[in-house]
């Protein structure tokens, strides 16, 4: 008997996009809130101590949110969030990997600077400051290249990549400023937030935008 998808989550983390896609697909799922990511119980599930972790209906355990997005694309080819033609697939994968390899890690550098240097508190501030510079540069590239012509990464069609990008944008120290100086990004993020499943979930994850 197949079990429901089982998602380990915590507020403000990358589990957001995975839960959103499970909801949008109408996939049977349960969510387990992780209180202590460094606790023994959770380290047995993911030795890196990171959420999300997703258990598939057959019991396979996945880590890496972008890998889960790829997996859900494959499991739900008809869902709104799945790219539909060859060109869309190529663009979606490219920008999904860009978001996870570049932007996701740049925000990690900001919020977990202790993993990026063995140095003192001052050294950590210098790491954060470099992270802020990287983030600015990366969003500029994303807006100019991924959201051309827009409004979504795949043009007129929403996909899981937009939800992924909106989630990362909400991690910004000043998301409202970011969405103002990057108006095309702002427009895309607002369109994602207007989707029916998004609003309640933003609240659950304590993510969001001021306006």
């Amino acid at each position: 008997m197949a079990q429901p998808y089982r998602l380990y989550w915590s507020p403000t983390t990358g589990s957001f996009v995975v839960e959103l896609m499970l909801r949008e697909a109408g996939a049977p799922h349960e969510t387990i809130r992780v209180e202590d990511r460094r606790g023994e119980d959770f380290l047995a599930v993911n030795p890196l101590g990171k959420v999300p972790v997703l258990e598939l209906p057959d019991g396979t355990v996945m880590t890496e949110s972008a890998a889960m997005v790829l997996q859900l694309f494959e499991a739900y080819p008809e869902a709104d969030f799945t790219p539909k033609d060859a060109e869309a697939w190529t663009k979606a994968r490219r920008w999904l990997m860009f978001l996870t390899c570049e932007l996701y890690t740049a925000y990690q550098q900001m919020y977990h600077s202790e993993h990026f240097t063995v140095g003192s508190r001052i050294a950590r501030e210098e790491v954060k400051s470099a992270g802020r510079g990287r983030i600015r540069e990366l969003w500029k590239i994303f807006e100019a290249q991924a959201l051309e012509p827009g409004p979504f990464v795949l043009g007129e069609h929403y996909s899981g990549v937009d939800a992924y990008a909106a989630m990362i944008a909400s991690w910004d120290q000043s998301p409202d400023v970011l969405l103002t100086i990057r108006p095309r990004l702002g427009k895309m993020v607002r369109a994602v937030c207007d989707r029916p499943e998004t609003a309640a979930l933003l609240e659950k994850y304590k993510l969001g935008f001021g306006t």
């Binding site: 890496e64 997996q71 994968r93 490219r94 050294a123 790491v127 510079g133």
Partner: protein
């Protein structure tokens, strides 16, 4: 025809391997990494992040992100057999490909270019040390999953293997990694001695693992 922008010891290795194994026609254009050509306007127009590789598709569309290129090539050559077909194994292949690119590859960049990760003039050493510790932790996690080996999946070589071997070869102390993680060493030996992958490995001047004792 595909056009691959490449330089020695870069992620272009994994992409050329994928094109070769899948039998895709391609040409190469070398980007002079040593001279910093990847930061010059001509190349930035192709890949604004200034990283090698970039891949121009037969239709003209340009891709960046080596892992995304592998997935694209697999899609274009669905019968190549270099990716698992079973759902659970595909999930694992995605998991470890993203782990290798978003965690291992990114951490390798931190000790290769530590200056980019700090604004302190003397901050590089602290960044490098933290990256060394992190990469060792990541490899011990990956080695647990690499069983029974030498390749990741029992079916034999998939595109995940050369990608993993590539990031392993960038380790800051390859002999030490091979000694600490024998399964990673076995993977490196299997990949570098593969009749089609080995020649690409050598063309890219990738570090060779020491023969197993």
């Amino acid at each position: 025809m595909y056009k691959l922008y490449w330089s020695r010891r870069t992620g272009a290795f994994a992409v050329e391997t994928a094109l070769t194994l899948c039998g895709a026609p391609f040409e190469r254009e070398q980007v002079d990494h040593k001279a910093g050509a990847q930061r010059e306007a001509a190349y930035l127009a192709i890949n604004p992040v200034g990283q090698v590789p970039a891949l121009a598709l037969p239709g003209g569309q340009v891709m960046t992100e080596s892992a995304a290129m592998l997935l694209h090539i697999l899609d274009a050559y669905p019968d190549s057999g270099f990716w698992p077909s079973d759902t659970a194994e595909r999930a694992m292949a995605y998991r470890w490909l993203v782990f290798a690119s978003a965690q291992l590859y990114e951490t390798d960049l931190r000790y290769s270019y530590p200056d980019r990760y700090t604004t302190a003039p003397d901050g590089a050493e602290g960044v490098r040390q933290a990256a060394h510790a992190q990469v060792d932790r990541l490899w011990s996690i990956l080695a647990e999953a690499l069983t029974p080996g030498p390749f990741f999946f029992e079916q034999g070589l998939t595109l995940l293997d050369p990608y993993l071997a590539m990031v392993a070869a960038w380790h800051y102390d390859l002999p030490r990694l091979c000694a600490a993680e024998p399964r990673v060493h076995a993977l490196l030996e299997a990949v570098t001695s593969h009749p089609e992958v080995g020649p690409v490995w050598r063309r890219y001047d990738m570090p060779m693992p020491a023969p197993a004792a």
